[in-house]
Symmetry: C5
Subunit: 249 residues, 5 copies
């Protein structure tokens, strides 16, 4: 896999912006509702990559190309409206992603969902095709659904990490449960698959920096961050602080 | 995409007539039950395009061709008889639509439905194929199903608009909830994807004109209108009034 | 479409015999249980076409060929044993039907069923393929399933007719609810798609002739009749009476 | 179809041995658990054909070949463990069956099951492919599932027979309900499709011979027998008695 | 099938390590969480083969290759999070497995599950493809799901074994119920399909050795063992003891 296109010394900070489909525009304000604003942040902050759905890429291709920032396309997605067991299916082919300039692809799997097997199966086909074309594959793995309720967050995080390794993801994206030892175990569970942590809900910047230190200490390879950066009043300043922590500068 | 075939200065008024399948003939009277009557209105009113199901196009192809009005084919559809979670599947291939003379294609997605993922996935394949052939894709996006009940109409409208952008629609067709600020936000959410508003139930003409002014003020690109025009006693007169508003003449 | 092979002056009387699969042999007696008896009636009565399932055609091909009567193959079917929402799937490909000598194909859609979308979608592929090969497509459209209960029979009949037009059927086969004005409206709803009426349960011959007059008066193109003919003691005599009414001789 | 390979003067006695998958080894004893024992019986008893699942054929191919007995491969199957609506799906392709030496193929359809349509559809594809290659198709048709309970066994048996004809089976395998007139009607319902009767549970040999006489009297073409033969202490002697009845020697 | 690559004198001891996906990392400690540790054990203990999911193989290919131990890839898998009827779908194609160096492939079927037929069908396609390429196929067959509860463990074990034979597995992997006579019967039920026994939960080593003696006495071909070996403090010593029993040295 050509991991070098999306990693710097084995680490990364990705700017994620698939919230418009996953959560609706409620995450946005007048500025960050505009993909151009996000592309500007990625460019100025020199992020390792931008993460978009296919539709954003098609409509803002010239802006993305001009930014020079590598592109990761999320291949599946769903709205958060349906309240039953989560299922997210493929909305962009690997071929199409490559045509649109992606240097890596992403896919979400809700382990524990009634539809887990459908997502695992679809992912496996994507992985096979992407790897044939030398494209790294990033798995967003989130334990979700009725069956998961009440189970230990640490065990679930490690299970998500290990699933990433077992199914062939090059990078697994997890939600951090806030316990650094649990994350260490999760990173170990992932073996040679790299772990990046999802930024999650916007939080206090101090808290975010503290969390990032823990993440790096636990052995993770970086962040796939969205709201905390593009909802920030000073996204570039914050990005620089995060990068310092990630690369121990 | 060859958007120029269905837009005039970036705006449009489409004559929609897929009600026979979606609602049954209860929307019709002795005149407008006949597709030829609709084609006549489109021709006299110089609509940007006619919207039909494949079956109508096959049977009335010579009339459509003679009218000179561009054709949009709705690729999926369902009756309103089944009372469970809505699912509308593909009834016409992109290839067939092109063969029948379509210059753009449409597809309905019920976000929030139990079957949302099936429609999103099918749409994504249609979008890829249509875009490869330079054909614009219009997504009818309607929040629908049990899970959607009680949710804010403004948020849902913006979510529908944003979904259109994220999945690669060139135009997204929404139902207007009557709040101009909500629609502004929805238009913004759609980014470079254009928004057209569905006409909805026949209403008082004054009200329709007022609504149309709001729609244009909110930044939408026009209307996909059906019942309000072809149920009108003076459809051409009304059309001219609507066009004045849309193009600020 | 080569409609001329199954129509006479735009009208038709088809001899339907798919009851063995749809209802089981309970509709049959010692005579009419034999497909050869049916083929004989069709030949003597000079029906416009015979309607069979693939299996009957394969086993009685020489008899059918000798009769000289055109053949319509029903492409889907089901037993009446399962008591849940109706689903009837494709049991014969268009290619196979052509190979077996069919000059038109038929397919049943239960609108209002939980599985409506699956049948609509399958029909649409059949229609595309058949039309490519110039073969007329006949849609049996019956509102059915839990959701349909209690709805107006007149509205449902018109909805079925209109669905036939919208999805590209050349002929739509309906059940007549007994109200001539309702049928007129249904025929109008079908536009350029022709309407033929299903014979239904065996009834008094007087009643059948009266019903047939109404059907023709309402603008329908004829009958697809089964039990009333082949359960009759004098099927040819009855056929001649029906033909007189259909062609106003 | 090359029926001659599995029929003698239009009649047949098949040795069925798919019980290992359908019922588990509870039907077996130390002798008949071994497929070689079954092959020996078929050889000594000069059965018209052996009926196996693909797996048995692969592992005992040299023994089957040496026996010289024609081979029928059952293409679908299931265990009897799951207690919901029955579904049996294809486990061996027609191509594979031919490669393994089959001269006919079999498939079970549970009419009345919630999954009836899936099995009917799969059967229809198998039938088309097998017939293209001149291979006879045998349909095991069993009314089964919640909806079937309480319905008349005679009517169900005739319905199964007729379904075989309508869907294109060359031979339909039924369970005999013990009423000779019902079976006569079922045989008549099957038209040119031949009827063979399943042996069913091991019973008293006298009773079996009596039943076989009735079956032949009713016009059926023979037996597809398993347990009654290979659970017998003197399988060859019994086979000879059955053959005498079947061929009226 | 090239069984010689994974058997020694018709017997085998496989080192299984698919627990990361099937159970999560809870089975692991700081040592055995690392696939390299497992590969070392396999090498030192001269196991007949290593059993991994595709992802592990991709990431640790050079270590596996260096070890010289033959590779079996498990083609399907699932987490243990979802609490409904078990379904495990294909996550690696046969083609991909071969490309990654596998000399045999494995697949799990939960007989008795609501989804049994889906797994049986998927297995049958894998079996056909693998056998075409001369690759042995190992079926993990476990009775599982609501319908199975309360049924006799001995009968279920024999049913699993027989299912392996009927569907064409070269080796069937079972859980041993602890009754040597039951296992004898299961081995007999499997006919020419070889039986290997799953190691199961870590137990006392004495108990394990005793169990292994019974397994061999019952006629099984060996073990597919995981936790009992790689959770052991002296895995190589234990392996040597097990091998002595298996090969009666």
């Amino acid at each position: 896999m050509k991991m070098s296109k999306i990693l710097t010394k084995g680490k990364a900070i990705f700017l994620a912006y698939d919230h418009g489909l996953e959560h609706g525009p409620t995450d946005f304000n007048d500025k960050n509702i505009d993909p151009k604003y996000i592309i500007e942040i990625a460019k100025k902050g020199k992020f390792n990559a931008l993460i978009f759905q296919k539709g954003i890429v098609e409509k803002y291709k010239s802006e993305i190309d001009k930014s020079g920032i590598p592109l990761i396309i999320k291949l599946n997605g769903k709205t958060n409206l349906f309240e039953g067991e989560p299922l997210s299916e493929q909305l962009c082919s690997v071929k199409e992603a490559i045509k649109l300039g992606a240097v890596a692809v992403g896919y979400t799997i809700y382990i524990g969902s009634k539809f887990e097997s459908r997502m695992l199966e679809e992912f496996s086909k994507i992985e096979e095709e992407a790897h044939k074309k030398n494209l790294p594959v990033i798995a967003w793995i989130y334990p979700r659904g009725k069956s998961v309720k009440g189970k230990s967050s640490g065990k679930l995080m490690a299970y998500a990490a290990r699933t990433g390794l077992e199914i062939g993801a090059d990078i697994v994206k997890l939600r951090y449960n806030g316990n650094v030892n649990d994350l260490k175990w999760a990173v170990k569970s992932a073996g040679k698959t790299k772990v990046v942590v999802a930024g999650g809900l916007k939080c206090n910047e101090k808290e975010l920096l503290k969390k990032t230190k823990e993440i790096i200490k636990a052995g993770a390879s970086g962040l796939a961050i969205g709201r905390n950066v593009w909802q920030s009043k000073e996204p570039i300043k914050l990005t620089m602080q995060l990068k310092k922590i990630i690369w121990n500068k």
